[in-house]
Every structure is written in C-alpha cells, then in structure tokens.
Symmetry: C2
C-alpha cells in the first residue's frame, strides 16, 4: 500500500490514472474467431466449444425443461437469497422506468418523447468455477422491465458440458427468453451477427475476460451497441474515525479480491485511521482463500490523506470511481458533492457487497473514469428515446415562416419548400371555403 | 428511383442495408493529426488552421465581446426565428430532464437514482458556406438544461478568419461557455485531450465531415464518450392518398438535398400515389439550387409498395429510420406501432424541416439503423445515472445474511466478511447495551 499525503493538483493525473488495458495483441485472433462464426455459424460455435471448453455441444440452446427444473439442484437458502435480490432489483428498476413526456411547445405544435424498449438484447455471462448468477439478475430483470421482446443469454458450458443451475435459475427468475451454451469471443460474434440457432441482437451486455472484452470492442466499432467500455473493477472509500477499522479493511479487501488489477483507494482527512486499517487488513487477508490475488491488488492500493473535504471531493470527482463508499460522520453532506461516480454507498452499514448482490441497485457500472460521462446499467440502458411531433395547420401557420427563414439561412431550399407547399395549400383551402361561403 | 412491389422478407436485408462507410483509408492521416495536437497543443492547432482553413489564427478563443455583439450582424427576422426555435427547444428539453428516483426496496434499504450532468462537454460545429446555427441550439440548449458546468464549442474559421455571426449568436443564446476557432480532426483531438487554450472535455457532440467522423471514432475507441456513431441522413415517408403529392415530393427532396449519400424511402400500400409524386418531384427538383446533389441522392431512392400496414410497419421497424414521416389517414394508429425510429413526424402538416429547426425536438438522431439501440440527443445525453444506497443497521440485519450467502456461492469471501464484520459489530453492540441494562 502506498500512502500519499496532500498531493498537489499536478500529481492528481498520475494518481487518477488506471492501468492501460491493451488487448490489441489479441485482436487478430479475436477477429478471426468472429469472422469464422459470421461465416460458419453454429458449426463454428461447436468447433470452438470443443477447442476452448473441451466439450462437445450438440444442442446450443438449453432446453426449456432444464431451465424450468434448474431450481431442483439448488440449496433452498440460495434460492431464497436469489428471490430476495430479484425482488429488490425489480423494485428499484421498475421505479426507474422513464415515463413519456408530452409538451405543447407552442399552440398547434405537440412534441412527445417516448421511451421504447430495445427489441432484442443479448446478455453475456462468463463461465468459471463461481457462477455469476447475480449478474444474470442485474441484466435480465431490467431487460424484462424495459419490455424487451427477446432477451437471450450466452454462457460457456463447464467441463461436463453443463451450465451451473444457479445461472439457469437466475435466468428463469428474470424471464430470459432463451439460454445458449457458448462462450468467449465466439458468443459475442453469434449475438452480433446471428447464427442458425442464435438470433442477432440489437445490443450486447455483460462482463467477460479479455477475449470477450476485445470481441465487444470489435462489435462496437462495427456499429453494434454495447453496455459499457470495460476496465478493472474499482472502489474508493472515504472514511474518518467514526467507522470501525475492520469495516474498512473488509471493504478494501472485497474489492481487491476481484483480481490483481483491481483498483483500491482509501481517502481521508484523518491520518490516524491508517494504521488500524492496515492492521485489520493483515489480520483478515490471511483468512481469505483468494489471498494471493488479493495481496497483489493491495500492493498498488493507495491511501491518500487530504487537508480538507473540499479538496478530497474534488479529487473524487476527478477520479470518478466505479464504486464509492462514504463512511464518515458527515456522509450525507459529502454525498451531495458527488458529481462523478458509478454507485455510491452511504454510512457505516452499507458495504459495497450489499449493492453487488441485493440492495436493488445495479452492479454493472462504469470503471476507468468512464463515470464522468457514462451511466451504469439501469432500466434506461434497455430502452431508447424516440421523439414524436404533430403540428396542426394553425401551428404551421405560426411556426412555418420561421422555419422557412432558417432553412433559407442554411441554404436548404427543399427544406423551405416542404413548409411552403403546405402553407400555400392551407391558404388556398381557406380561400376556397371563403369563396364557397359567399355563394 | 427504384420501385419495389411487395418485397419478400428475404429481400428486406438488402432493402434495409445502408451504404458502407469506410473512412479507414483516412485513419493514418487522422491519427497523425490527433497525435500532433496531443503533443504540440495550440501550436499544432494554429499550424493546421493555416494548412486547412488557409488563415492565421492568433487567438483561438473567440472574445466575449465578439460573442456578445454577434447579433448586430444579423437580420432581425433571423434573430426572431432563432429565438423562437430556442424557446421551443428549451420547452421540450426542460420537460425531458429526468427526476431523481427514490425507493425503499425493503425496510432499512434505501436506493436512489440521481441524474447528474456531465461536467464538461464539447460541441463540434462544421464550417462551410451555410452556418449550422440550428445544430448549435440543438446541442447547446440541452447541455445548459442538463446543468453541464462547461460547454465549449469548436468550429473552423472561414477564409477571412472569422466565424459566422449566426453561429456565435446561437452559441450566445444557448449560454455556451466558450467558443474556439478550430475545426476538423484537430478540433476533436483538442477536445479529447486538451491543449493550453482548450480544456479537455468528458463527452464530444456534433456532426462533421469524414475527417471529423474518423476522429470521433478514434476518440471513442480511446475511451472518450461521443454522442452517436455517424452515418448519412435518412428519411422514410409512409403515405397514402390523403396527402397531396406536392407535400411528399418536398419531403423526399428535403432529405435528398443533404448530400448524395442521403437515404430516401417512400412506403405505401397505395400504388396509385407513385406517379403523382414522381411528377411533383421532377417539377420541384428543377427549381432547387442543390439540384445536382439532390438528383444523385434520388437515384438510389426507393419506393416500396406493401400489401398491408402490418407488413409495412414491420419493415419500418427493421429499417429503423432516422426520420419517419407518417402522412396517412390512420397516422395515429400507425404511430403506436413504431418501435425503432429516431424522430417521427405525424400527419400532413408536420414536415421534417419543422423538426430540423424549430418544433422543439432534437435533430441529432441515430442514422444507419442505430435507432434500434441508440437514442437521439436529448437532455439525457448530457447527464448520467448514478445510484446511491443507504442501509440502516436494521436493514443490514435482514439483507446481510442473504448477501453473505450469495457471496459464498460466488466464492468471494471478503465480500461476505464486509457484511459479517458489520453484523458482528451490531450484535456486540446490542449485547453490550443488554449487559449494561442488567447492571
């Protein structure tokens, strides 16, 4: 751990920099896989499963009975926990669903903004020993609430050619339309361009290893929408003496255990909290099964002491952390000063892991400073804004001449004509009815 | 113009395909310009202005007096038109501003979604003979409503080293913070990484030529947020006999006059409308100053006749047009079936040009089928969602054990500990107070 006292603003850039992700060495290989899937479809997916997952996959789609019965293989307590998390995620994401906006901007001119679901979305869920069922809920539930017509999920099979029942159970709970057994760059390609079995989607969501990240980048530059650019997970913790050191130690470690490249920051105005936290970290670290990875992540963890909360908060807004824990006596006040962060955890009893799983907020968040301009996943990420406008003949009589004038100034004559032919028509019509009213 | 009668679904893919944009041949050159700006800052910007714009630029920033006095050089009618457009755009974009969402997902667990402005945004406005002041309003006004702290605008100088007063006047009306005289890929690089004069921004907005488009793509893949991926402008018009042929002709032409690669579609279930529209197009086309460009765009214009509105609307949702005009007797009914479109114009008196300038809706919209997953620019494009959560001791007592269980299932022990140390602390505290109450 590196301790920095009162860094000058010139030092901030370096303190805020994240590790450079360069997957470009993978690019040729990932592109080749994706092209192969684009050309050979299901056959390529089966071939890659044999090569990378070490299994023969006959049916790419998981059968509806397997999906329906997935709960039979799970501990009741885990099912209860999944149900509670699903309930909270649903409550918060339902409330986020945007409502139509209707405004009469001037008499006879009505503008509406409708929020329409993305028709078809694809969720990618990584494989590995620990099943990421929580991510299934975080993506599947908002997709259902948004009203997406089709929500497909791709995840690689394990060594025995199966998908963990917790993944399937979470998919079932989220009303995912169909689950396909395929992973890696090949799954991203399948969702981007479709195969015989897997439909092409309009937007791809979900985390993944460097192959998946590279594949999503390639899909994005080919014009397929993706949820977020990727980067290693991060937490910044703001703390003072009001919070027990053991809470802070566990929070920092729970970020560090995600991977060696996890970014962990502790910010304070009270130097005296550092030592107790370090002691607690040592104590807890030894009891962690992922001790080695966690330790490596801690090596580049930074503890920064600031003179004032004003400067500290300005630093936070420059850093723009994915997760921000504010565990200080004045946390409410500080929370009002947050301008750039993915998800914020307030007070002493709100660990990040609560939001990771079950408080109701989403855990798919902008890393790498992207919180300065990107949103985390929410219901809105599965929808898009579409404007509708309707102008009456009366409305066009007022607005039209202005439009004609502006079109002329931008030298677009047909734009002007589109108004003029209509205004002429309206004038002629009223002349006609006037003539008729005389006779 | 190509007339297609009842195309089979197999033919849709071809009918929906857009011209392939390939600016990659520019990539090396654009990257070199951007690197140059990144390394040499203002000096490079001045050098490129000399080279590309043919002028010496001393002060990159337009002075506040020049901005303030820009109205003196404009026709009063144009100023009135700009003011009316600004008023309508403001009314519609204010109504779009998202409101904070607060939900108690379960007792003691409060989740909030705050919508925070993007701190610093950069607007790019192309040069050329016709000043695109309308685009300044469409980007600058929502940025101000969103609450962005800094809104900068870059636009190239004309041959005399000036910026058209209509651009400056629109910038003034939109409360743009500062205007810089620089264009092309070099302006995008300046906004992406900053120079001595121009601050680095968090998100870049605005249209541009192929150099600007390529530069925005490069900035995007370097992690700088952009408004939308680019493509040529498009309109799809759905019409029946209820609309005068001259209206349709003007609408189709006003899209075609944007450029040779403009995409123009006319869709109908009534074959009889085709001939009158063709006659009106011929008549009007001859009177247009941009006749040559417009004619070339019309060459690849398609008129498609469908058997039923159900199939027609399914085609529209597959095509996902940037602009959609529905000028049929049953336009209200059809508008309910729109799932994928950027902006929709309803009825006989709502030409696209009204929305392009002044109805209140935004004209920065997704082209190239991107409307399937992307939103046009609105107030939301200048903001991002940030979640806040606060859990009380009581709340953690209910939620915590579930989180512990899920963390265990995902094999993240420190995540579990972050809950456990808190629950242990709560238990100890209540034991202490219980003990104390005995004595």
């Amino acid at each position: 751990m590196q301790i920095v006292i009162n860094p000058s603003v010139r030092e901030w850039e370096k303190l805020c920099s994240r590790p450079l992700l360069d997957f470009s060495r993978l690019e040729t290989e990932v592109r080749a896989i994706m092209e192969d899937v684009r050309n050979s479809g299901d056959e390529a997916l089966r071939r890659f499963s044999k090569k990378f997952d070490g299994v023969e996959v006959n049916e790419l789609e998981v059968s509806s009975s397997e999906l329906r019965n997935s709960g039979d293989y799970l501990d009741q307590r885990l099912k209860d926990a999944i149900s509670l998390a699903a309930k909270n995620i649903e409550a918060f994401h339902k409330a986020q669903k945007p409502r139509e906006v209707k405004v009469v901007t001037m008499p006879g001119v009505e503008c509406r903004m409708k929020y329409l679901p993305v028709d078809r979305v694809g969720l990618y869920i990584p494989g590995g020993t620990a099943p990421l069922f929580s991510t299934v809920l975080m993506l599947g539930i908002p997709a259902r609430i948004a009203g997406c017509r089709e929500v497909i999920l791709c995840t690689p099979p394990d060594k025995s050619g199966k998908i963990h029942p917790a993944i399937l159970y979470a998919a079932l709970k989220s009303s995912v339309t169909s689950v396909y057994m395929t992973g890696g760059a090949q799954a991203v390609a399948a969702m981007a361009w479709g195969t015989e079995s897997i439909p092409m989607v309009d937007k791809i969501f979900g985390p993944g290893n460097q192959w998946v990240t590279m594949a999503k980048q390639i899909a994005a530059s080919a014009g397929i929408a993706i949820d977020l650019p990727a980067g290693p997970s991060e937490v910044a913790v703001i703390a003072d003496q009001s919070v027990p050191a053991s809470f802070l130690a566990a929070d920092l470690l729970s970020q560090a255990e995600h991977g060696e490249d996890s970014q962990v920051l502790l910010l304070t105005t009270e130097k005296s909290i550092i030592e107790p936290v370090q002691i607690e970290i040592e104590r807890l670290l030894n009891r962690l099964p992922r001790k080695e990875i966690t330790g490596k992540a801690l090596d580049h963890c930074k503890i920064i002491v600031f003179d004032s909360y004003d400067v500290l908060m300005e630093f936070i807004n420059t850093y723009a952390p994915e997760h921000l824990i504010i565990a200080t006596a004045n946390y409410r006040q500080l929370s009002e000063k947050v301008r750039n962060a993915g998800s914020v955890f307030l007070g002493n009893y709100t660990p990040e892991s609560a939001g990771d799983y079950a408080s109701g907020t989403n855990h798919t968040l902008p890393t790498n400073g992207f919180a300065r301009a990107w949103s985390g996943v929410g219901t809105g990420a599965f929808m898009k804004r579409t404007s509708f406008q309707e102008i009456s003949a009366e409305g066009l009589k007022t607005l039209g001449p202005m439009v004609e004038f502006m079109a002329q100034a931008e030298e677009l004559e047909a734009h002007r004509q589109a108004v003029k032919v209509r205004l002429d028509y309206i004038t002629n019509q009223s002349n006609v009815s006037w003539d008729q009213s005389i006779h």
